[in-house]
C-alpha cells in the first residue's frame, strides 16, 4: 500500500492524526499486545475510544495545559496511549527509561517538574514513591498493573482503568472541555520531551514540536514507502527517540500496527509470531541473534552444518547482489532459490525476520560481517544515522545503495555540512526546539541559522554522496608522533568478533595503542564448554590462558586490518588486558544504551592503564561493583598483560588535512 501523501500542514498534532486514522482505518488493527498467551488487538476506532477515555480521566484528575506527564514502563499499548491522551489535554508527555535507578529518575522528574506520573507497575511506583519527597511539583501517580498495589495509600495513587472509568462516567460534562483543548493544539506546540542519555553529564530534555515529529514521520515514511499494512514490534525503550518516531510518529502518520511483546524475555517468540515488516534493532541485537544462530549451528548435526555452511557461502556471494538488484546468473539465482528453500527461509523464520521489508540499524557501527550476513539472507537491512535532537533522521541508506561502512545520504529535508574540525552539522525540519531549562546548551548545540553540531567526526564521500562517520569528534585525537588516533574505529573492529563484547582502546598522546577487552560470556562460555575448559566465574573464564590466547588471535587479526588503512595504521593495539568484570551501567562504566563512559573507565581502572604502559607483565587490581539490588562489593583479580603482534606500518603518517 502506498503511504498516504497529503499535506502535513493540514494536520497539526498527533491527536489530529488519531482522529484521521479512526475515521480512515476504523476497524484495522492499531495495537496488539500479547497477554495471557494470546494476542489482544485494538482497532484504530477502539484505540481512539480508550485514549479519549483516558484523556477525560486526566482532565478529571486536574491535568492542566502545559503540565508534564512522565511515563515510566515497558512497551505496552496502554502506555503508548498516554502520549496522545496527554497531548489532547494540552499536557506534555515525558517518557523515562524504566530501568533507571530511583535517583536518576528523581533528577528527570524534578527537572521537568512533572505533576503527574504514569507508571507501569509496582516496581516503578516504588521507585517514584522512594524519591517523591524531592519532587516538589509531583501530585498524582497512575499505575497500570494493580498487582501488589492494593494495600498502598491511594491518596495520590490511581489505577489506570479507574481513571478511564472516571473519564467515561464524566463524558458528557468533560467532552466540551476536551474538544476545546484539542482545537487549540498548534503545529509549533510542544509534542514531546525526551531526555538524552548523554555519555557525559546530566541528561538533557530535548523538546520536540508537532512540526518536528509530523514532518519527520511523513518524510521518513515516504522514503521507505511505509503504509498502513506494515507491522512493527515495539520493544525498544519508550524513552528513546527512535521508539517514539517508529511506534508513535510513523505509526500515527501511516496507520500501521504497533505490536507489543509479552515480556522482554519472550521477545524472540513474539517476533516470530508477529513477523514485522518494518524492523529496527541496534547492532547488538543483530549481533546477539547471529551469535545464537552460530551457537545453535555448532550443536547441530554434521549434515545440517555442512548444508548451512555451503549455502551461506553462496548467499554471501550473491545474496547481497540480488537484494541490490544487480545482475546475477540464472544458475546462481536457482542455487539461491534452493538455499532459500532449505536454509535462508527457515533461518529467517526462526529469527522472526521473514517478512521484514525494511530493516534499520543505528546507534553504533555494525560489523560488516554481521551486516552482510543479514543482507545475504535477503533481509533488507540498512543503516541510518540520527540523534534525538534531529527527531532521529539525519542520514539513511536508500534501497539499492546499502553499504556497511557508510550511514547513507541525507534524509529528505535534511541539509549536511562538515565543519573545519571534521565535525558533521545538519539542518532539518526535525531539528529540536530547545533543551528544556538549559539555554546554554541549546546555544552551543544549535546556531542561529539552525545548524546543529552532531559531535561526530566524519566526511562525505565525493563520488557517492554518502556520509562516513569516523568517531566522536572529541574522541578523535593524535598520538605522540602525530598520527591520527580513532579509538572507536578500532574498538568496532574488535567488537565484530562474537567473543568480544566490549573494547576500549587507549593511546591519545601516547606512543602506542593498548586496549581493554570484555569477553562475551555467552559466546566464550559456549566455546569453553565445547573445549572442556572448567571455570567457576566470569573472572576466572576471562583470565583463562586459552581465552587470552584466543583474544590475542582476534587482536592480531584486527591489527592486520587496521594496518591496511594508511591513515589509521598507528592505531594498532600493542598490548591488551581482558578485564575481570563486565563494564556495567550500574557501575557507571557504560550508559544505559551501552556506550562506554571513557572518563569513568579512565579513572576507575587507572592502575591497569598504567600497567599497560610501564612494561609490567601483570597487574593485581581490586574493583568496586554494584549488585542488582544496589549493594556494593569488590572483585579482586590479577590480570595478565598480553602483547599482540603488530604489522609494521610504513611510516607514521601525520593527519592529512581533509
Amino acid at each position: 500500500m502506498a503511504a498516504p501523501s497529503q499535506d502535513a500542514g493540514a494536520i497539526a498534532s498527533i491527536p489530529a492524526l488519531l482522529d484521521r486514522n479512526a475515521k480512515r482505518f476504523g476497524n484495522k488493527p492499531a495495537y496488539r499486545e500479547k497477554e495471557f498467551g494470546i494476542w489482544q488487538t485494538w482497532s484504530w476506532a477502539e484505540a481512539k475510544e480508550e485514549i479519549e477515555a483516558l484523556a477525560l480521566g486526566l482532565i478529571n484528575l486536574g491535568v492542566q495545559p502545559g503540565d508534564f506527564i512522565a511515563i515510566i514502563g515497558s512497551n505496552r499499548p496502554h502506555l503508548y496511549w498516554v502520549f496522545p491522551a496527554a497531548q489532547m489535554v494540552g499536557a506534555i508527555p515525558v517518557p523515562i527509561y524504566q530501568d533507571s535507578a530511583a535517583e536518576e529518575m528523581a533528577y528527570v522528574l524534578d527537572h521537568c517538574g512533572a505533576r503527574f506520573v504514569v507508571a507501569e507497575d509496582q516496581e516503578q511506583v516504588d521507585k517514584v514513591i522512594e524519591v517523591q519527597d524531592q519532587l516538589h511539583q509531583f501530585e498524582h501517580m497512575i499505575y497500570l498493573d494493580p498487582r501488589g498495589l492494593r494495600k498502598y495509600d491511594h491518596a495520590k495513587l490511581h489505577e489506570y482503568a479507574h481513571v478511564q472509568a472516571m473519564g467515561r462516567a464524566a463524558i458528557d460534562e468533560l467532552t466540551p472541555e476536551l474538544t476545546a483543548r484539542k482545537s487549540k493544539l498548534a503545529y509549533d506546540d510542544v509534542c514531546v520531551m525526551l531526555y538524552t542519555s548523554g555519555t557525559t553529564g546530566k541528561p538533557k530534555g530535548v523538546v520536540l514540536s508537532n512540526r518536528n515529529i509530523i514532518e519527520t514521520s511523513k518524510n521518513s515514511s515516504e522514503f521507505d514507502s511505509l503504509g498502513p499494512g506494515d507491522e512493527v514490534l515495539a520493544y525498544l525503550p519508550m524513552a528513546w527517540v527512535g521508539d517514539f518516531i517508529f511506534s508513535i510518529g510513523q505509526a500515527m502518520w501511516t496507520g500501521f500496527c504497533v505490536n507489543c511483546p509479552e515480556s522482554p524475555e519472550t521477545m524472540v517468540t513474539d517476533l516470530r509470531e508477529i513477523g514485522p515488516t518494518y524492523y529496527f534493532a541496534p547492532p547488538r541485537v543483530f549481533e546477539g541473534q547471529l551469535t545464537n544462530v552460530m551457537i545453535r549451528m555448532e550443536d547441530a548435526s554434521k549434515f545440517k552444518k555442512r548444508l548451512f555452511d555451503k549455502y551461506m557461502a553462496h548467499a554471501r556471494k550473491v545474496g547481497g547482489k540480488i537484494l541490490d538488484g544487480e545482475s546475477v546468473s540464472a544458475g546462481d539465482r536457482f542455487k539461491y532459490w534452493l538455499g532459500n528453500l532449505f536454509v535462508y527461509g527457515p533461518l529467517k523464520n526462526s529469527l522472526g525476520l521473514s517478512r521484514v521489508r525494511v530493516g534499520y540499524t543505528a546507534g553504533e557501527a555494525i560489523g560488516p560481517e554481521i551486516f552482510h550476513f543479514y543482507r545475504s539472507l535477503g533481509i533488507n537491512l540498512k543503516q541510518l544515522y540520527g540523534q534525538t535532537e534531529a527527531s532521529v533522521f539525519i542520514t539513511q541508506q536508500p534501497d539499492g545503495q546499502v553499504r556497511s561502512d557508510t550511514v547513507g545520504v541525507a534524509s529528505p529535508g535534511v541539509e549536511l555540512k562538515i565543519g573545519d574540525n571534521g565535525e558533521v552539522y545538519y539542518r532539518s525540519p526535525g531539528v529540536f526546539e530547545y533543551y528544556y531549562k538549559n539555554e546554554e546548551s541549546t546555544k552551543s548545540t544549535k546556531d542561529a541559522e539552525g545548524w546543529v553540531a552532531t559531535g561526530d567526526a566524519g566526511f562525505i564521500e565525493p563520488d557517492s554522496g554518502h556520509l562516513r562517520i569516523i568517531d566522536r569528534a572529541k574522541d578523535v585525537g593524535k598520538m605522540a608522533n602525530g598520527a591520527l588516533f580513532a579509538p572507536k574505529y578500532v574498538e568496532n573492529k574488535l567488537k565484530f568478533f562474537p567473543n568480544i563484547l566490549e573494547a576500549v582502546v587507549f593511546g591519545n598522546g601516547r606512543e602506542e595503542c593498548t586496549a581493554f577487552l570484555n569477553i562475551d560470556l555467552n559466546a566464550v562460555g559456549n566455546w569453553a564448554e565445547r573445549h572442556n575448559l572448567a571455570y567457576s566465574s566470569y573472572t576466572e573464564l576471562a583470565g583463562h590462558p586459552k581465552v587470552l590466547e584466543m583474544m590475542k588471535g582476534h587482536v592480531e587479526e584486527v591489527n592486520a586490518s587496521v594496518a591496511e588503512d594508511e591513515m589509521l595504521s598507528g592505531c594498532q593495539v600493542h598490548r591488551f588486558v581482558v578485564l575481570h568484570k563486565q563494564l556495567d551501567p550500574d557501575d557507571g562504566e557504560i550508559t544505559r544504551t551501552g556506550k562506554v563512559r571513557r572518563r569513568t573507565v579512565d579513572e576507575k581502572f587507572a592502575d591497569i592503564i598504567t600497567a599497560l604502559y610501564d612494561g609490567s607483565e601483570e597487574i593485581a587490581t581490586r574493583t568496586e561493583v554494584t549488585y542488582e539490588d544496589g549493594r556494593k562489593g569488590y572483585i579482586s583479580a590479577t590480570l595478565k598483560i598480553v602483547k599482540a603482534k603488530t604489522v609494521p606500518a610504513s611510516a607514521p603518517k601525520a593527519v592529512a588535512a581533509e
Binding site: 495471557f36 498467551g37 498487582r147 519472550t266 517468540t269
Partner: protein
Amino acid sequence: MMDAQPAEGFVTADGRKIGGVVMEMKNITLRFGGVVAIKDISFDIREGEIRAIIGPNGAGKSSMLNVISGFYVPQEGEVIYKGQKRPPMKPYEVARQGIARTFQNIALFEGMTVLDNVMTGRLNYMNTGLLSQAMWWGKSQREEIENREVAEKIIDFLEIQNIRKTPVARLPYGLKKRVELARALAAQPSILLLDEPMAGMNVEEKEDMSRFILDVNDEFGTTIALIEHDMGVVMDLSDRVVVMDYGRKIGDGTPDEVRNNQEVIDAYLGVAHD
C-alpha cells in the same frame, strides 16, 4: 499465645484477612518401625495465613508435611480439615481435596513443557470423561480453554511466559522451583504446602521466591504452610511459626514470640548460629 487470635478471623496490620482454622492437627504421632518421627504434635492452620514449620535437620518437619499431604499416615492423632475428621487417604485423594504441594527436591514432569506441567495442576477441574471427550469434542475444548486461562494467569503472575513452551528438563534449578509453584497454584488449592521452597537457591533467587510467596498469599489469599530451615527467610515471611525439634513441638506463635522463646533459642537458634 494462640488464644490471642479471635476464632472467627481478623485483619493483619498490613491489611490481609486471616480467617478461621482450616486445618487442625491433633496429637499427631508418626513412627517408622521403632523410630518416632513425630511425637504428639498439635497445631492449626488458619485460612489466609502463612504458617511455617521450622526446625533443625531431622526435626521431623518434612514428615509433618508428608502427613498433611497424605504421603504418610500417622499412627495416632487426627487431622481435621475444614471442620471434619479426615480418614486415612491416599496422597492423590488429599490433593483432590484441595491441598497442593511442592517438593524439596522438585518433582516436575521433566519431559513435558512448562505449560503442560502447569496444566496438570488443572486435571482435577477437568470433568469430562474419556468417552464424552471423544463424542463431545467441542465441550471438552471449552473446558480445556477455561483451564488454560487459569494456567496462563498463573504463568503471567510468576513471570514464566518466556519458558511456556520449554521442556522442564532444560530449565535451571531456580526456574524449576518456580514452575513447581505454578503447578501447585494452578490447582487453586485451599492449602498450599511448600517443602523447603528456598533450598539450594542463591540470595537473589531466595529473594525472588520470598516475593512470589508473599504475592501469592496477598493476591489470591492462598493459605500457605511451608517448612524451611533458613530462619531469616521464615521470620520475614510467616504470620505464625511452629518450631520442631527431635519430633516434638517446642514452640508455636508469631515470629517475635518464637524468637524470644528460650527453648527455641537453645534448641535451634543456638545450633544454627555456631
